[in-house]
């Protein structure tokens, strides 16, 4: 019965064109509880190639902070010339995600740090090796001793990097400023884009402060995405099923954040799209089951662009211009 009642509410909302009392997107606020020393240590480790086999790569190799928190590739380069199996998601604002990785296999950032280190296609090493290498660095060991009051350990490394990643949030975006009351922060087209974004239903999944990242959804509600894409269906393509082993979760992925989507070159878990407009079209087709006119796509793009906030490491799109 409750379900029925909810539908009445839903209908009234839709048909009487009532707006939400509260916007489904909220501004990003700078986290305040972080330890500066640990951030500094985490940052050093984030850029430290000793955290990989043969000192080939670091976290920052794929999560390029100046670009968009990820690289501009469909699939990234791991050790020994290998390619990763999924598109590298941005590390910016990752702290707001309900779970980490496309499939939500990792609980939080702390847990997530472990994933690429031992992944043979990514950092391809073991914690024992990493710890041995880092412990040989007396200066670093002293630093750990001072900050964590204990020798270098997997736990400490993960914690420090996670602490650093928590600080990677983009604030003060034009859209956030608009949300906070600055009517001139975005232009009318952007505003229109936002309205379209809501009206088309994109907002159903891409909401919250991270415009996504806080729920899971199947790719291809309408039509078969993978069939249309072609190619073999990999483990990665199975998505959350690999975590829950529930048939229902096949091809279910964590809805990605759209905060920095306008800075991305490649989209979706497989990096199959390399244009934002195309990505929007693909989304409309498979997720909304409809086509969006070109004019609206451009408006939505404008809206997406206004979501990009600022971080000292991130090269601002406005600067790039």
């Amino acid at each position: 019965m409750t379900l029925t009642r909810s539908f009445v509410v839903l209908m009234s909302v839709l048909f009487f064109n009532l707006s939400f009392a509260k916007e489904p997107i909220t501004p990003i606020v700078t986290p305040s509880h972080l330890n500066k020393e640990k951030i500094a240590l985490g940052k050093a480790l984030f850029f430290d190639k000793r955290l990989s086999k043969n000192d080939e790569i670091s976290c920052a190799s794929c999560h390029q902070l100046t670009t968009n928190g990820a690289d501009n590739k469909a699939l990234s380069d791991g050790v020994d010339g290998q390619k990763t199996t999924a598109k590298t998601p941005t590390v910016y604002n990752a702290v707001f995600n309900i779970r980490q990785t496309w499939s939500g296999a990792r609980t939080d950032l702390f847990d997530q740090v472990d994933a690429p280190i031992t992944n043979p296609k990514e950092h391809g090493t073991t914690w024992a090796k990493v710890i041995a290498k880092l412990s040989a660095d007396k200066k670093l060991a002293t630093k750990f001793k001072r900050i964590y009051h204990s020798p270098i350990s997997q736990q400490n490394i993960q914690h420090a990097i996670a602490e650093f990643e928590q600080s990677l949030v983009t604030t003060n975006s034009p859209f956030d400023r608009w949300l906070q009351g600055d009517q001139n922060a975005i232009d009318s087209r952007t505003k229109q884009g936002y309205q379209l974004f809501k009206r088309y239903g994109c907002i159903s999944c891409h909401q919250g402060r991270n415009v996504g990242g806080n729920m899971f959804s199947k790719i291809g509600h309408f039509g078969d995405y993978f069939q249309d894409r072609g190619g073999e269906i990999t483990e990665i393509d199975l998505g959350r099923y690999m975590v829950t082993k529930n048939p229902y979760d096949k091809h279910v992925f964590k809805v990605p954040s759209l905060r920095l989507s306008s800075l991305q070159t490649h989209f979706f878990h497989d990096g199959s799209q390399n244009d934002l407009s195309d990505a929007i079209r693909v989304m409309a087709k498979y997720q909304l089951g409809r086509a969006i006119p070109e004019q609206d796509i451009q408006s939505i793009r404008a809206f997406l662009t206004s979501l990009v906030g600022q971080h000292p490491e991130l090269m601002s799109p406005y600067e790039a211009e």
């Binding site: 539908f7 209908m11 239903g201 159903s204 729920m215 959804s217």
Partner: protein, 1075 residues
Amino acid sequence: MKQSSFFSKIINLSIFFMLIWVAYALISSAQDDNKAHQNRVQFLFSSNAVDAQLNQFALKIIAVDMPEYDELVTLTQRLDSLKSLVNSQHSPFAATTSDLQQKISHYFALIDDKMLQLERIKTAASLMRNTLLYLPQLNKELQLQGSKDALIAQQLYSDVLSYNFYADEVKLVEIQSKLEVIGDRKQSPLIKNLKQHLQVQLVQQHDLKNLYNAFVATPSKPAFNTLNSSYNQYHLEKLQSSKENRQLTLILSAALLLALIIIYRRLNHARFSAFRSGKLLKEALTSIEEGFALFDKNNQLVLSNTSWFNHHEIDPDNAPKTLEQWQTLQSNQLINQIESHNQTLHCSLAGKWIRTTLNQAHDGAMACVSVDVTSFKHAEATLKKWGHAIEQSPVSIVITDTRGKIEYVNPKFEHITGYQLEEVQGKTPRILRSQVTTTDYRALWLELKEKGQWRGEFHNQKKNGEHYWEQARISAIKDQQGEVTHYIAVKEDITEQKHAHAKLKTAAAVFNATQEGIMTTNSELEITAINPAFTRITGYSAVDVLGKKPSILSSGKHDKAFYEKMWQTLKEQDQWASEIWNKRKDGSLYPEWLSISAVRDEDGHIQQYIAVISDITERKTQEEKIQYQAYYDALTGLPNRSLLLERISQSLLYSERYKQLSALLFIDLDRFKRINDTMGHEAGDALLIEVSARLTQIVRKSDTVSRFGGDEFVILLNNIASIEHCTTVAQKIINELSKPFMIHGFEIFSGASIGITLLPEDADNAKELLRLADLAMYKAKENGRNQFHFFAKSMQQQVNRRVELEHKLRNAIKNQELSLFYQPIVDTQSASLYGVEALMRWQLSDGSFISPAEFIPVAEESGLISEMGEWLIKQACSDIQSLNLNCNCQCMLSVNVSSQQYRLGFNAEILSTILKDTQFNANLLNLEITESILLDNDQAVMNWLQDLRATGAQLAIDDFGTGYSSLSYLRRFPINTIKIDRSFISDLTASEDSAVLVKAIVSMADSLNLKVIAEGVENKVQLKSLNDLGGQYVQGYFYAKPLPIEALQTWVNEHICRFCCKKSKLIESQCDFVI
């Protein structure tokens, strides 16, 4: 005892702490339980809250009441942390039962499941929402296309909606059949899309329903309830059991503690009893003086007391433990004697004597007892010492029995008397008695018996018959009952002392009786003794001087060197003697003959000094009298010939050494012989006395007036300035002695003739000088009485001429032979006449001139200068007044004023009168004085000069530069002009020094605003030099020599323009005056 109380304190304390600990353990375990329980309950509540929130969110999602899912992210994180906590070591349920843990796992599995379902609900809800959003638009598009299916689409849409509200299978089948119809018929994309969306909508509706149902059906609530009740059950059980445990523990602990306390108390009591009995034994042992040590049958020390250790001088802590070790210790002592089988005697290094006895006890143990016998040993030693003392005594000792029979004599007795012990044993000391003894033996015995001792002297006889004196002391020796057993006589040979005493007596008698004063001092020079003669001579009694220093006698007449020499002699020769002046008690000085001897001890150190004093005042007086008679004339008291000769010799020495001039005046009274003959010797003597008195008055004290013999006197004038002084004195003498004498009421006229010799010019010894003076005296007599005559011819001539000059001068004044000349003074700058100097000239009747240098001193000496000076000023003023009137000019007049005139009474008053009489302008008068008059710096002279200046006359210094030319007097005295001495001018061209001096004088005068007149300018060269040096006024032959007033008038007329006289211009054409 201390230790045991310390232990008991520790035990008491530990029991106390145990009690505290038990209490603490009980309380803390209860607290621990409590806290863990709280944590668990908290955890369960949190978990339940997550579950509740999940339910709430699910409802919200279904109701499309969630615009965004960030809250779900937060919830997920909360769940994650709860899960990680429960899976970690720190899980609040870690210590609980496995059943509980299983239930928790189960519960969290359910919540996890719900979370996953919620995710699917989210997905499904979004999809359904989007489809619902799209369907009306699709329908609209179909209608716009005019599609036949628009209607059916509309119907389907409402069917789907109604199915949503009233979901039944019939409706679903109906909808699906309708969908198939659409799909079969047309394949337009719009229709196709519509169909797809409707199908998705249906599926999603279905799914969402199923999902939500499944979500709601998830039995998390029951699971929680089970868990909660299980836990509550667990907690209750736990609570119960822990309470029981605690009680049990408490009871057990209490019992344990009680037991402990009882045991401890019992132990303590037993220990105390044992300690008390042990203490008693120890106290008993400690209190005895004997050392005690007990060794068990294994020879181990088991008991000992303090005395034992003290006797062995061993620290109880380090003491040996076995009998053998103790015996070794004893045998190592300084003296170790074995007295018997079980008794030994030892003497330690410290001199402690210990006797140790060893006794076998019944059980094989050994008991040792030690006794300190040191005091006995010491007494023994003392006795031995006394024996030695008597044997080696330096005095004789005789011991007799009560009847006086000798029992013992010591070696000294044998040595003194010559008797051996064997010879005198059994005899009485009477054998020593000499025939001359004075000792009352009866009294001796009486006293000895009454008082137990006697003291006295014996005059005894040795074995060889020699007599000797003994001082004896006889004492009775009593036993313990007080009975006299023996007598002991201690005797000392005092023969030597007796003799010495006798000597001393004699010495003392001498000391007291002698006429010489005797004073002894110790080495510190403190007076130790004086004799009566000393008191008689010095007036000091023993009370006054004993302990004082001899310096109280010092007269102060002798210098330091005198006493230093005295001490030096004393030190070297141990004796010294000299005549010395000392002071009596009454302060009078007296001469004494002092003889001092130093007395040294055996080491050569001075022990005392003995001074013997003889008063030689009497002798001295005699000596002085004799000396006086030798050197002085008895009648007049004047030095006699002998002293005179000495004095002359001395004067000669001085004269030579210091280039002094002295004179000897040999005086012979005229007419003395006649007076003597006619009026008798007494009158002659009286005359001589009166003469000597007059002579003494005339001369200075440093001069010697002596009576040479008869009516001859000789005066020695020491260190005279000039011969004039000598002649003055001679003249005075003649004058004085020419005056009448009153002798015995008669006026007597005498007179004197004097012969003079000069020292050291005339002779180099006294006798020759006297002879020559005598000779000169006769010469004087020859020239008539009341004359003096120099021995030296030149002197005599000089005197003669001076007398002659004076005579002539008097006549000259009378006859007006003196005249005035005037020398012009020229102002070279204006080439005019400045003034004239008036100079006195004396022209004899034969036409010759006598130089002023010759007659002025005579005039000054004779006092004629006074008259002459006044005349000069008067005349000159008169002359120049008329000159000035004649020429109508202001010619200055310079006149010389001598210091003699000042003495003779010339003053401002006289000057004023003259000026008044002559009507001469005082401002034109220049009084020239010499530097010497200023040098005395006499206030009277100063006043005199100032008075003169006050008349309007000016003052000039004559002959400046020849005396003590001093700037200071120029400033002090009211001087207007300086006249540079002619000697500078004559040297001016030859000597550079003169030029510098003149230049200095001129510039100095300039600065003091004085005029400078240069004297004695004789030629043009001098004049030019002078002009170059700045000299303005010039006097000298170059211009004119001194001229009589008539000639001066003529000179002025010739050289000075008559009309320009006021301007004082010299006529250039007639004389080369101007440079």
